[in-house]
Symmetry: C2
Subunit: 304 residues, 2 copies
């Protein structure tokens, strides 16, 4: 067993596409087995932080929605872009023009928004109207040095009724129109992962990130010095992730498909209670020996 | 007088921002002096082609609108992206999903649009809704090899009520989300300028492009072997175009600000009728000696 595996003390979990698929009237549906998997991970005594780029609601509403689905989750366990952005805005005396989801606006309640000197863009969904995007563009193009802060840079995500464009696509539109590079708050920014790790009090070498996004989750965590696993739920698309993940691959049966699979593999099925800890770390070691870190080429090829 | 100046036989004119500012109830307002300038250019016996990325209307409607403003313009004198795109679609048996302005749809009347195998995006304006952009994205992401055809790649343009995002911004959003590079039909594509020159029967060395866009008009024409002039109407923004264009520059008074100024300078004020042709070419020579071709650096710096 690798030395580092003995030392694993914390897990970072992506939320949308790992715990649940968002969208629909109830705000989404849990992915089979994920509620139980979170419960078991916590019962094993591991530190856990939910590391999400979700910006369609305040953390409070977001947590309540997940609790309503049965997840054992609290506000303090969630690392999200909006609070991180608020810290940056205060530090740099920036007054944002907001292009975000209506339900996220309360996160910025204490921020001065008069006479904007930057634009903050999040996953605004239905608020991504032609008029609203033009308004954000005019604020930016009117600045001597445009400042664009983006809450994530995701390309798309999966809702119950299909794939949807994420904030990254609209960020690119504004970047191009104003010839500016956005400052990204949220995954895959290194500072964002570091903030989640600090919340757990666990160094990167002792943590694993589990997500469905090959760039924002897996790539971002690896650049931060963590190990990472990609589940096959959410936005996972086989053709994007290369032949090594295909169902005909000898390795494919060893790779977790859902958070539930991951938790079961981590736990080690059939382990007696008294041997649980020992088998758990053996399972992690075995699992990660089959999951080589992703090379730069694969990351570049990945679309989402 | 430079040898090439003696040989100038044709002018390519951008339309929006040079002839008129679009937008508002009447569809736009002419820029002062531009109606008369077009009349005089034609009267001088020069070949003239209107080279536009306008995709908010069919050529027929577009020409009628401009005629209504008093411009001497006909269908055959307009080179626009939609007819060029239709030729490409037919040649390659492509069936488009259209994300364009409602008024442009008739241009594609003869194109098979069932079971789409590509997406054509134009300046859809109010049709750039979150739902419509998601729909175009889903069509693209569902293809094995996504084909995205963009009617221009402009960043923004000026309407009577201010600057508006152009098709290029939305093209970039889809490019990023689907990890695809769009095929651009329209300025600054070389083929587009060549098509306009062919329509006039004038080689690039004997033509001048006049526009307000430093990249699409000036850069595109120069890459095609033409000379180009940038007017200071439309989307022209002084801070984007460098200090050489500032009002304090010794050269600034020599540079044309509007199409009218350009035409007056080309014509040579006070020239007697019998000396008109001679003075006209002297004016072109003098004007262009003050307007060095733009280097790559300036093009890169330019935002629009």
């Amino acid at each position: 067993m690798a030395a580092w595996a003995r030392a694993v003390r914390g897990l970072l979990l992506d939320v949308s596409g790992v715990l649940y698929d968002s969208g629909g009237e109830g705000g989404g549906v849990p992915i089979a087995g994920s509620v139980e998997a979170v419960r078991r991970i916590k019962a094993a005594g591991l530190k856990l932080q939910f590391c999400t780029n979700e910006t369609q609601a305040t953390r409070e509403k977001f947590v309540k929605k997940l609790q309503g689905m049965g997840f054992d989750i609290s506000m303090a366990e969630v690392t999200a872009p909006a609070p991180a952005a608020c810290r940056i805005l205060k530090e740099r005396s920036l007054r944002p023009h907001l292009l975000v989801h209506n339900d996220l606006v309360p996160e910025f309640a204490e921020i001065d928004k008069t006479n904007p000197n930057c634009v903050v863009i999040g996953d605004a969904a239905e608020n991504f109207t032609y008029a609203n995007l033009n308004e954000a563009f005019r604020v930016l193009i009117g600045m001597e040095k445009p400042v664009l802060i983006s809450l994530g840079r995701g390309r798309y995500y999966k809702e119950t009724d299909g794939l949807k464009l994420d904030v990254g696509a609209y960020m690119k539109a504004l970047e191009y129109a104003c010839d500016v590079e956005a400052e990204v708050v949220g995954k895959p920014a290194k500072m964002f992962f570091e903030s989640a790790l600090a919340e757990m009090g666990v160094p990167p070498q002792q943590a694993i990130m589990i997500g469905d996004d090959i760039v924002s989750d897996v790539g971002g965590a690896q650049r931060c010095g963590m190990r990472a696993l990609q589940v096959r739920t959410g936005k996972y698309r086989q053709e994007v992730n290369g032949s090594s993940s295909s169902s005909s691959s000898p390795n494919s049966r060893r790779q977790p498909r859902t958070l539930k699979d991951t938790e079961v593999m981590l736990r080690g099925s059939g382990a007696a209670c008294e041997r649980w800890k020992h088998l758990f770390f053996r399972a992690i070691s075995w699992l990660l020996s089959c999951t080589a870190p992703l090379g730069d080429n694969r990351l570049k090829q990945a679309r989402n």
